[in-house]
């Protein structure tokens, strides 16, 4: 065995020894990343915001009207999603905190075509959150 082959073998042995450790660290990083993921990259502070109109049927009814005016043209009349605009019914939205949905409505995702809706008063944005949540509650039952 010449010196080059010996060097290669040594490196392979070293790699075999360290690979499990590297994989374990990678898995840990991925699981931490998954655990830290929030709805549409909303910051952790967003999740702490409480919906002042939670379970308020009147507010949700107003939210339905606002949704029809401002959101339905992209997300569909039944929140089913249209083209690049995703569905708002399903586990992703159902598992999101109200504050995260509020944050996303406020900021949008300008690089992916979702405008921010900060021009609507925050009360109206919360009403839209109430409406989306009420639809997801019904769909989840």
């Amino acid at each position: 065995m010449n010196s080059q082959e010996e060097l290669l073998n040594r490196r392979l042995r070293s790699l075999t020894r360290t690979a499990p450790f590297v994989m374990a660290v990678a898995m840990l990083c991925i699981s931490v990343e998954v655990a830290a993921q929030t709805f549409r990259s909303a910051p952790a502070s967003a999740a702490e915001m409480k919906n002042p109109y939670a379970a308020d049927a009147q507010a949700a009814a107003g939210g339905k009207k606002l949704y029809a005016q401002n959101c339905a043209q992209c997300h569909g009349n039944n929140l089913q999603g249209m083209g690049p605009a995703p569905s708002l019914i399903g586990p992703s939205t159902r598992n999101a905190k109200p504050g995260e949905i509020f944050w996303f409505i406020t900021n949008g995702n300008l690089n992916n075509g979702m405008p921010g809706w900060s021009q609507l008063p925050k009360q109206q944005r919360w009403q839209i959150v109430s409406f989306i949540e009420s639809k997801n509650t019904v769909a989840g039952q």
């Binding site: 009147q58 507010a59 009814a61 107003g62 939210g63 339905k64 009207k65 606002l66 005016q69 401002n70 043209q73 992209c74 083209g83 406020t106 900021n107 949008g108 995702n109 300008l110 690089n111 992916n112 075509g113 979702m114 405008p115 921010g116 809706w117 900060s118 021009q119 609507l120 008063p121 925050k122 009360q123 109206q124 009403q127």
Partner: protein, 290 residues
């Protein structure tokens, strides 16, 4: 121009608005000031704006602007204007076009949200649309007869820094304007500032025409700030204008009685507009070619 003519024009604007089926969204009531709101991507908003005033010692005029605003991206809105005017005892004429682009500079919502505005305009000297006031713009500019003023061609680049904040239901917006006539004249400066609020911050559960959330009210201030090397408010036009908008179903009407504060300003003007959106216009056009 007779009052009958003005009445007919106003009626036509209202009819146009009531006939519109569209999706309008949270538009501010401002007639001059821009806020951070961009057109939704793929939507086309068509607006007809009018302005009527009488310069001291001159004839009453009515200027009209047709506006096509398209949401190219969520952060980029592009807009094309065609303008014209009619002056009593003179003539009615097309005065030119403008093409503007607005770019939202930060992707997330902040306390102050900056938007960059760049416009190219090619209008003649008879243009009386007063979409902004810069430099030493004056009511006396409108005393030049249409036949003479229309021979003068103005090609300008106009830039604005739009700063806008939404706080507790209030919108506060400031525009800093710099305009340059490409014929080599100095930079001219101006400003516009405004504050507004919906009459109700919550949406009522039922469909309604006259509920308070459909109305927004506010006030605008705007005027010239002189030119390069001569930045001043002396000799400039300055205005204050209450503004009111009303959203009927999906169409927005705006009205703004405007009052001049300096000798160079028109003593009073009336601005009015109607606008509607064609939701998903880009998608519909794209379908035609597939």
């Amino acid at each position: 121009m007779t009052n009958g003519f003005l009445l007919r024009t106003l009626t036509a604007f209202c009819m146009l608005g009531l006939a519109a089926a569209s999706a309008a969204a949270g538009d501010r009531p401002y007639c001059v000031t821009y806020d951070q709101t961009m057109e939704e991507p793929g939507n086309l908003e068509i607006a007809a704006r009018g302005l009527t005033a009488t310069p001291q010692g001159g004839s009453q005029f009515l200027s009209g602007v047709t506006e096509f605003e398209y949401g190219a991206k969520a952060w980029w809105t592009t807009e094309f204007y065609l303008s014209g005017q009619t002056t009593a005892n003179q003539s009615t004429l097309f005065t030119g076009y403008r093409w503007e682009n607005r770019f939202r500079m930060l992707t997330h919502e902040h306390i102050i949200n900056p938007v960059l505005y760049v416009e190219y305009e090619d209008v003649n000297g008879a243009d009386k649309s007063l979409l902004e006031v810069v430099g030493f713009d004056s009511q006396f500019d409108a005393l030049v007869p249409n036949s003479e003023a229309s021979r003068d061609r103005e090609r300008e680049i106009e830039t604005k820094l739009i700063l806008s904040s939404n706080v507790n239901g209030w919108n506060i917006s400031e525009n800093f304007i710099a305009a340059k006539n490409l014929a080599g004249e100095p930079w001219e400066f101006g400003y516009a500032a405004a504050v507004s609020r919906p009459l109700s911050l919550m949406a009522s559960p039922d469909e309604c025409t006259f509920c308070r959330e459909n109305f927004q009210a506010g006030v605008e201030f705007y005027g010239g700030l002189g030119e390069w090397g001569k930045v001043t408010m002396r000799g400039t036009s300055q205005y204050v204008a209450p503004v009111l908008s009303w959203q009927v179903r999906d169409t927005v009407f705006k009205v703004s009685p405007t009052f001049g504060l300096t000798d160079a300003s028109y003593r009073a003007m009336l601005r009015f507009s109607v606008q509607y959106e064609i939701a998903g216009f880009g998608r519909k056009v794209a379908k035609l070619f597939h």
